[in-house]
């Protein structure tokens, strides 16, 4: 078992250094209303993807977390994605 779960390991000793997707001049602005942007940093289940995989900087990851939580609260994205929910579904308290 090597670190095969990294997204791009086509060549073993070459790994391109990733940069924060929110750094730079024309980087997208983190907005909790932008579900399409947020969906890139959320797993299919609805959990946030760790920044070590998405290469988001610490500062932006905190901002992103806030955005995801706001979007969840306003029911733009689910807290838990049960995908095909049969009977009952998500029995949240909210």
């Amino acid at each position: 078992m090597s670190a095969a779960d990294a997204p791009t390991v086509s060549r073993p000793f070459f790994r391109r250094k990733k940069t924060c997707p929110f750094a730079g001049a024309n980087a997208p602005k983190i907005d909790w209303k932008d579900t399409k942007l947020l969906s890139r940093y959320i797993s299919e289940r609805g959990k946030m993807i760790p920044s070590r995989i998405t290469a988001v900087s610490q500062k932006k990851q905190r901002e992103l977390a806030r955005a995801v939580k706001n979007a969840r609260y306003m029911a733009l994205i689910p807290y838990v994605n049960m995908e095909i929910d049969t009977g009952g579904g998500y029995q949240g308290r909210r």
Partner: protein, 131 residues
Amino acid sequence: MSFYETVFIARPDLTEAQVTGLIETFSKVITDQKGKITKTEYWGLRTLAYRINKSRKGHYVLLESDAPSDAVIEMERLLHLHEDIMRSLTTRLDELTEGPSCVMDKSGDDREDRKPRYNKDDKKTDKKEAA
């Protein structure tokens, strides 16, 4: 005075006219206290990601304002008390945004910017869920 953005979800059984009435009443709270409403957006009846108060849909409204904090606190208080409002969220903005928000850019539905062939299927499944 600082910039705020308020989004609230109204009950789905309201008519559009009733929603515009709500927008007016809450805008008035801001303007009465010397605040300014800089943007109002009605996102339409959208499907919620999960059920709130046993409903699967809701009318989304966005208000952007340049107002004193007292006005915003008062509006939030009234939003919480109002029976037709299922949920509301106010966030502080660093600066006022220009143009329609990203929700409006994608013409209301978050899937309409995708390939058109998916559209039909999406709408069908939506109807099934609602029924």
